[in-house]
Assembly symmetry: C2
């Protein structure tokens, strides 16, 4: 199974698949003509990566999760730990974004938004807070 087939089956772009090989996440065989040759197991691993990345895990976390997935003697405790700290990081990120959004929303409401140059948004960003 060559790279474009693997791309269709896994849902990842071919470029991404080659990148994952470059950084050692997967090691497909090579056919006689030099083409990458993906096994069903490789596809399974690619799908795993796609899903883990979709859940926001970093490449490094994916590496750990893959290692745990392949480790028959793993403790589910370890997986849970990775997932927990990732959830915490996501929560932190959400809080940051919500703070930004609240500030911006307030500024947008304060801005009349017409042809005049007066603009509370710019004034606030510039630190020229009057009133």
């Amino acid at each position: 199974m060559n790279v474009s087939h693997a791309a269709r089956r896994s849902g990842l772009p071919a470029k991404t698949i080659r990148y994952y090989e470059e950084i050692g996440l997967i090691r497909p065989d090579r056919a006689a003509n030099g083409y990458r040759d993906y096994s069903a197991d490789d596809i399974h691993r690619l799908a795993f990566l796609k899903r883990a990345r979709g859940l926001g895990f970093s490449i490094d976390e994916c590496r750990q999760l893959m290692a745990l997935y392949g480790d028959r003697g793993r403790a589910s405790h370890d997986v849970r730990q990775i997932a927990r700290s990732h959830v915490d990081a996501i929560g932190e990120k959400i809080r940051e974004l919500e703070t930004m959004r609240a500030t911006l929303t307030r500024l947008i409401h304060a801005c009349h938004g017409d042809e005049r140059p007066d603009c509370p948004i710019l004034d606030d960003i510039a630190g020229d807070v009057r009133h």
Copy 2:
């Protein structure tokens, strides 16, 4: 005012300030010895950038906002437009993160988290959804 002084005054790392010059966001004078020499106006601009970046605007959006800030004949309409679409983008990002968090939270609750290798989190990521 040299770069480390400008860093203290603006709250940005010196390295970031030099980077902003490299990409054309600010153009400080040079002293006779070749050192960068920041005016009060430059500091003001750096603080503007810090605040705009803190609100999540991209460098390119910051460039636009700076241009509008310096344009005495600007329409507040234009600024509001940039801010609005940024708020939309933030909202989109928050929704994505919340979806991730919900999925992960569900999986974490399903995982017993002990020394046994059985782990619903990995099974889900791998697509081995039983039950």
